[in-house]
Subunit: 407 residues, 2 copies
């Protein structure tokens, strides 16, 4: 019997409220340089400490041992979808990051302007890192000139610097496609092809992109240095079973950054717009408490400072979160989870594979008798090490949403 079918069969209707707080990239590693303390260990977190006393802890593997996830697989795992089964291409992630609302079947490409010589050879892959304003102007120009190709709608959105995104919205297309990018200078832009040569849908998408190149290149051919463009991570938005159908929970996303709103939207969460700080996000939870069952609250700064290798700033971000926590607890949900989508160790200045710590608090979580929420404490917690994709199942169990299996 399929395990997801079992969970579905056993699911009961309850009035439980659950909150999953994602401190992006929270997990870290202890090093000699930082006196063997992680930012979570070094931070002063009186409110989290109080919660930890009556909580269970453990660590989660976002994808598989040793695999470092991007934000896409990291969050899909947290939302309970196997990141190997539900893959979201970089083009899609990039589009979500720009706040573009994708539809199932949309093919998205991550693109950037480049410089081509008269023979079409790439001489600068980033077009001299043009200013965002130039990129915006070029995208506006292309958008005006190319609205449709055949039946397909073309959506072009500028990003930062030389980066932009192109969405191909038509029927019967899919990714992934090979990159229109030689990945080094001195070579021409290769034609995109279907990764799966048997997919007629991918071939259709590849043809459309070739047509897009034919239409777009003449428009910018005299622009210097941005007289060409590259495309990568070309993929379609996968059809993902809706969160509400999977869990019988009405979900809301309270995030600040577009990418996380986009990832939440992929699984059908309602985006709640407005809040800009973690305190405002918690206030927003209080306001919306009655309207949803499940709240995904995303906090970016732990990851951002981890990526910068700024230990003190990551520690401070944790303390800021902790200071705001009492707002959430004014209407304490039945189940609270505090975790990350992956680790972002300061000493590595990037995402990593280290299982992230997780804290789960409910009336039935029991206490692991740990005084604080830390990586080291989580190692000896009762939740042990488990795959992220089971986190919401454990939250549901703690909310008494599952009937007993068998007599």
């Amino acid at each position: 019997m399929n395990i997801d079918s079992l969970y579905s069969e056993l699911t009961l209707d309850t009035k439980a409220k659950m909150v999953m707080i994602v401190l992006d990239g929270i997990g870290d590693i202890a090093t000699r340089e930082q006196k063997y303390l992680t930012p979570l260990e070094a931070a002063k977190t009186p409110n989290l400490d109080a919660l930890a006393k009556d909580s269970a802890q453990g660590r989660m593997i976002p994808v598989a041992p040793g695999i470092t996830p991007g934000s896409g697989p990291g969050h899909l795992g947290l939302f309970g979808y196997d990141p190997l089964e539900f893959q979201v291409g970089r083009g899609v992630i990039e589009a979500l990051g720009l706040g573009i609302e994708l539809k199932a079947g949309d093919v998205a490409a991550r693109a950037n302007f480049c410089t081509l010589d008269p023979k079409g050879i790439v001489t600068d892959r980033r077009a001299g890192r043009i200013e965002t304003e130039v990129c915006e102007e070029l995208c506006a120009l292309l958008s005006r000139k190319i609205k449709k190709i055949g039946d397909a709608e073309i959506i072009i959105k500028p990003g930062k610097g030389h980066r932009f995104v192109v969405i191909f919205r038509g029927k019967g297309m899919e990714g992934p496609l090979t990159d229109a990018d030689p990945h080094r200078e001195g070579f021409p832009v290769p034609k995109v092809e279907a990764v799966n040569v048997k997919s007629a849908k991918a071939k259709k998408a590849a043809k459309l992109i070739a047509d897009f190149y034919k239409a777009a290149l003449p428009i910018i051919k005299d622009r210097k240095p941005a007289n060409g463009f590259l495309m990568r991570g070309i993929a379609h938005q996968p059809a993902i079973p809706l969160f509400v159908d999977r869990y019988k929970l009405k979900p809301a996303c309270i995030a600040v950054y577009p990418m996380y709103k986009g990832l939440a939207q992929l699984v059908g969460m309602k985006k709640i717009e407005g809040p800009q700080t973690i305190a405002e996000q918690f206030e927003c939870y209080l306001t919306e408490h009655a309207n949803y069952d499940f709240f995904f609250i995303h906090y970016k700064y732990t990851d951002m400072h981890g990526e910068d290798g700024n230990f003190n700033a990551k520690k401070k971000a944790i303390e800021d979160f902790d200071a705001a926590l009492p707002i959430l607890l004014k209407k304490k949900p039945d189940v609270i989870v505090v975790t990350g989508d992956h680790s972002t160790p300061c000493s590595m200045k990037g995402h990593s594979w280290h299982p992230q710590p997780v804290l789960l608090h409910s009336a039935t979580s029991g206490s692991d008798k740990l005084k604080r929420f830390t990586e080291t404490g989580a190692n000896s917690g009762s939740l042990s090490v488990f795959d992220s994709k089971f986190l919401i199942r454990l939250m549901q169990a703690n909310a008494k949403m599952f009937d007993k299996f068998g007599a």
Copy 2:
């Protein structure tokens, strides 16, 4: 390669003796109300403590994260059978609980007397909770009048109060079937149907049960208040590979309660009748030591008091078990396991999904340097968290029953 094939291939013939002691529902959670101690932590267990010193510990997931098992899946997991692959219906469990020896293919229904109005509407689902004696008399009457329907033998056994069990022993039948129970009053008894509409065997069983209703209802129609009956959890006894074939171990069950004897019998264990206390169960092990290789010793009271939410009684049950333990150790087996089939936290008054602690002692278990056997200690044990279905494989390894895999 299938993992079970690998285990089989590597299995060596040894003279090892193993004992699996199942303290039913032993796992618990630490709560503020009980000063953050579980019953296992609060109990005085000098004998278990001495064993723990030279043992490995860990925690086991009975079915899957967040899934609370009944006794059926809980024990099948302990016996090494994936509870999702081998599902045992409620009717079968109920029959086992009444000590009925089922044969593979028997279809069993959990039944109870009810009250019907002249139009066949259920007016009392429990027939005013008739006395056990009345139920016994009605079952005896039905048994006398209905011995067979067509080729199928009909076996009717009374339970407690208004409850009874009906076994349909014939050829070419299977479950599961829908319930002959409206699950509320004011409705007629629905006809049972095959859950899998494509199963001819299930349709045959459904027809037989319809015939049984036609034969049985007229016999009790003038009885008040028990003039009708409901049937639920109608399923067949699944064919389960025999324990002796799977493990090359001759198994015996030393249990007091019929359901556990029945579950052991499902996988082909020999039931040893007689002992009523844990001390007597251990004495029985001493007597039977030479006759079997594997002893499943079941202790019910930890679960019973957990279900009642009686912390002190659960603690006392653990102490009673501990006091009897030296009897077993007079003929120390090569491998001893102490665990549960699932957790039954007192604060939840029922089974739960929390991984149960497990202790494994052998000459090769090593020591986890834990002074006691507790949930918190088990969290940091060398066995870590694993699925129950691997427990006997670990016992076999500790008994040096597996050859090396590969060179």
